[in-house]
């Protein structure tokens, strides 16, 4: 029977059918649902790990222990996990090890647009690339087989449009894969120089065998059509190319590293003009050029952003879609915003009011950079806020530190903020770190983490105590505040930035979207009391709307969080009651 499945859900199904028993991940759009769906299978142990490096190490351990195991992450997560990846390529596997990495061309939810194929090639790890949900399921099963046959980790590379598109999937049964025997084998698993030198030889030999396999596997296939145009493509780009080129000939690559050189030569010899259609880097194209095969790719199509059938039609075939109407209206943009009731709003309102330098981090709170809160100065990668605040202090001096704070979410702090904080303590910094503890991993859709006290299955577990943790690494000044108590929070922030030693402020209030968060009914503005001073507009709350003549509350959006009542000096906000009551 066929089922409509998200690409990520089909990956989870493939993992289940392949008989895997251990799955790890740190959430990251567009990869998150892979592990959320895996967690629904009781036959598979699954976990949210503190970060991608730990996640991959756990999966490698499970593989060495004999289990089919997996690890999932977004593209930038692979940077964090690169250290274990590069050496796991040397050790190889015991039970099959498959790593799912989701790239984000167009950066729907990411800070950069890197191409996982290049990291995989540097790590000397084979890469499969599905182009729809059915292939997500099929390639996953095949990836486990390849991993065990060739004794290597395998990467399955997704992009946003494959991960987050639903398509029909033919399901299969779960294979019963017993745990492989575990035997000590230091020559294979202890990578110190003498052993690693021998293993590197094995890696190169393996890559040569994988290249031969790439020429014969059904993952790569030729679809002959009109031979005037030949298209070499993979992943979601294949789907766009099919629509744009129609009846041309296609070399559809499912295994993109190592590439099937014989097959590429055979294809090239039988078509007139060859186009390589691939999003992001010219990975296939450069390989073809290196082989001496003349192809057209990035000369016509961009290195940046997502492709589409119409983009290919326009750039390659010169067919432009005409506009079908004469509407030429100026359309205001609709950027994402912090939700009504968001606990981060109080903190960013204050940081702007105090005119502080703010090093930021990855999460919903990155939205604090946007108007009207506009208080976040930097965002680089997970955990960077803390190291960067310290770096600014060391470069610009203590006066700067007294005007600077780092902001980081609870999950991001656990991911890679702790080491930055240790650096501040160890190297005599005086920076102030604000941990925005909203009791969840918000941006990726509410995953639990070590600070929430629940596992991926929702089971209670030991909760990391952020106060004790910060104290344990040597921060003597750890303060806790409620970001909706603006007066108290402002007082605490002022005291801590003035202090001549490291300090941590833990801003505690759960995400307004969590089910257990309830307020006492929506607010409205009493127009007789309102002086239209528009102080409340500085909060950037989507529920408070400037109508030009007056300001009003949108009752459909208001959560009743009350933050506006604390900035209004005229007590114009009144409680209305209503659906949220």
């Amino acid at each position: 029977m066929k089922k409509l499945m998200l690409g990520n859900e089909a990956i989870a199904r493939g993992v289940y059918e392949a008989g895997a028993t251990v799955a790890t991940a740190y959430p990251g759009t567009p990869s998150t649902e892979i592990t959320e769906y895996i967690a629904r299978y009781d036959e598979i142990y699954s976990e949210w790990s503190p970060n991608e490096k730990v996640a991959l190490e756990v999966a490698i351990g499970a593989s060495v222990g004999g289990a089919r195991s997996t690890c999932a992450m977004k593209h930038v997560g692979l940077n964090v996990a690169a250290d274990p990846l590069f050496t796991a390529a040397y050790t190889g596997v015991n039970g099959g090890l498959v790593i799912f990495v989701a790239d984000d061309p167009g950066m729907h939810s990411s800070q950069n647009e890197q191409d996982t194929r290049i990291i995989a090639r540097a790590a000397k790890v084979p890469v499969l690339e599905p182009s729809d949900s059915q292939e997500c399921r099929d390639f996953t099963r095949e990836a486990f087989r390849i991993s065990e046959e060739f004794d290597t980790p395998v990467i399955v590379r997704l992009t946003t449009r494959v991960a987050h598109s639903q398509g029909l999937v033919e399901l299969g049964e779960r294979e019963n894969v017993p745990l492989k025997p575990y035997a000590k084998d230091p020559g294979k698993y202890v990578m110190m120089p003498a052993m690693a030198r021998k293993r590197h030889v094995v890696v190169e030999e393996r890559l040569a065998r994988l290249a031969e396999f790439s020429d014969t596997t059904t993952l790569n296939r030729i679809e002959w059509g009109d031979r005037k145009i030949g298209v070499i493509t993979s992943g979601i780009a294949y789907q766009y190319a099919k629509e744009a080129f129609g009846n041309a000939s296609f070399l559809k690559l499912g295994m993109v590293y190592p590439l099937p050189e014989k097959l590429i030569r055979e294809f090239a010899a039988n078509v007139e003009t060859i186009y390589v259609i691939e999003e992001l880097e010219p990975f296939i194209e450069n390989n073809c050029l290196r082989m001496g095969i003349e192809v057209k790719g990035k000369a016509l199509l961009p290195l940046i952003g997502e492709y589409s059938a119409s983009l290919i039609r326009e750039r390659v075939l010169g067919q432009k879609q005409e506009k079908l109407n004469s509407i030429n209206e100026e359309i205001p943009v609709r950027p994402p915003v912090m939700c009504a009731g968001c606990p981060h709003r109080g903190i960013f309102y204050l940081l702007k009011k105090l005119k502080l330098n703010v090093t930021g981090d990855i999460g919903c709170y990155t939205l604090g950079a946007l108007s009207p809160l506009e208080s976040l100065d930097t965002c680089v990668c997970m955990g960077a806020s803390i190291g960067m605040a310290h770096g600014m202090e060391k470069a610009m001096g203590k006066d700067t530190a007294r005007k600077t704070v780092a902001v980081i979410g609870d999950s991001t702090f656990i991911h890679s903020g702790i080491t930055g904080l240790i650096d501040i303590v160890y190297n005599k910094g005086t920076s102030t770190v604000i941990i925005l503890d909203n009791s969840t991993t918000g941006m990726t859709g509410h995953q639990d983490n070590p600070a929430t006290g629940f596992t991926i299955k929702g089971e209670p577990t030991r909760q990391v105590d952020l106060v004790k943790l910060c104290q344990a690494v040597g921060v003597d000044r750890v303060r806790v505040c409620d970001p909706f108590d603006l007066a108290e929070t402002e007082r605490i922030i002022k005291e801590e930035i003035a202090a001549d030693e490291p300090s941590v402020v833990i801003s505690q209030r759960p995400c307004a979207l969590l089910k257990n968060v309830k307020f006492n009914g929506v607010l409205k503005i009493n127009t007789e009391k309102c002086t239209k001073c528009r102080m409340c507009m500085r909060l950037g709350c989507p529920a408070i709307v400037d109508r030009g003549t007056h300001v009003e509350v949108d009752p459909a959006l208001c959560t009743g969080c009350d933050l506006c009542t604390k900035v209004c000096r005229f007590n114009a906000f009144e409680r209305l009651g209503g659906e949220n009551a």
Partner: protein, 190 residues
Amino acid sequence: MRSTSIMIVGVGGQGTLLTSRILGNVGISTGADVKVSEVHGMSQRGGSVVTYVKMGEKVNSPIIEKGEADILLCFEELEALRWIDYAKKDASIIINTQRIDPMPVITGKAKYPENIIEKIKAEYQNVAAVPALELAKAAGSIKAVNVVMIGVLAKRTEIPEDTWIDVIRKTVKPQFVDINIEAFRKGYAL
């Protein structure tokens, strides 16, 4: 079956994901190949959200491009205007007459365009303006706006009413089935 491209546009949090799931399942029940594409993550936080549902004998690209949509289902007026170029000239355009101001309008940096429905009607023949929020309220929950919209859309397809109701029954949570079917009927009756 005839291939159909449906684009659902709205504001993050309006329930467009459930809409696409129901439309996808209806497509499958007619025996079609179906692809549904959506974007999760940062764009959901009150941003402009677009979801594509494509059905037909064989669907390749999961996304719909300018001039390709047979049906443009708009949960909010400004979003209808933003994505109007994606509609075919004879597309069925269904617009919920609801206005949600984006942050640049809220802060006074930009103006919300006037008379959006009239402007679209002047260019396209097949435009329906629907007070879905009021109809959803009447059905029992303002959260059922999406199912009211599905009802309006369903009336414009050849797929029988029972198929839609059957899919809604199977897709939404059991405790919300009655409200959602009521909301669907209110849309279908328009």
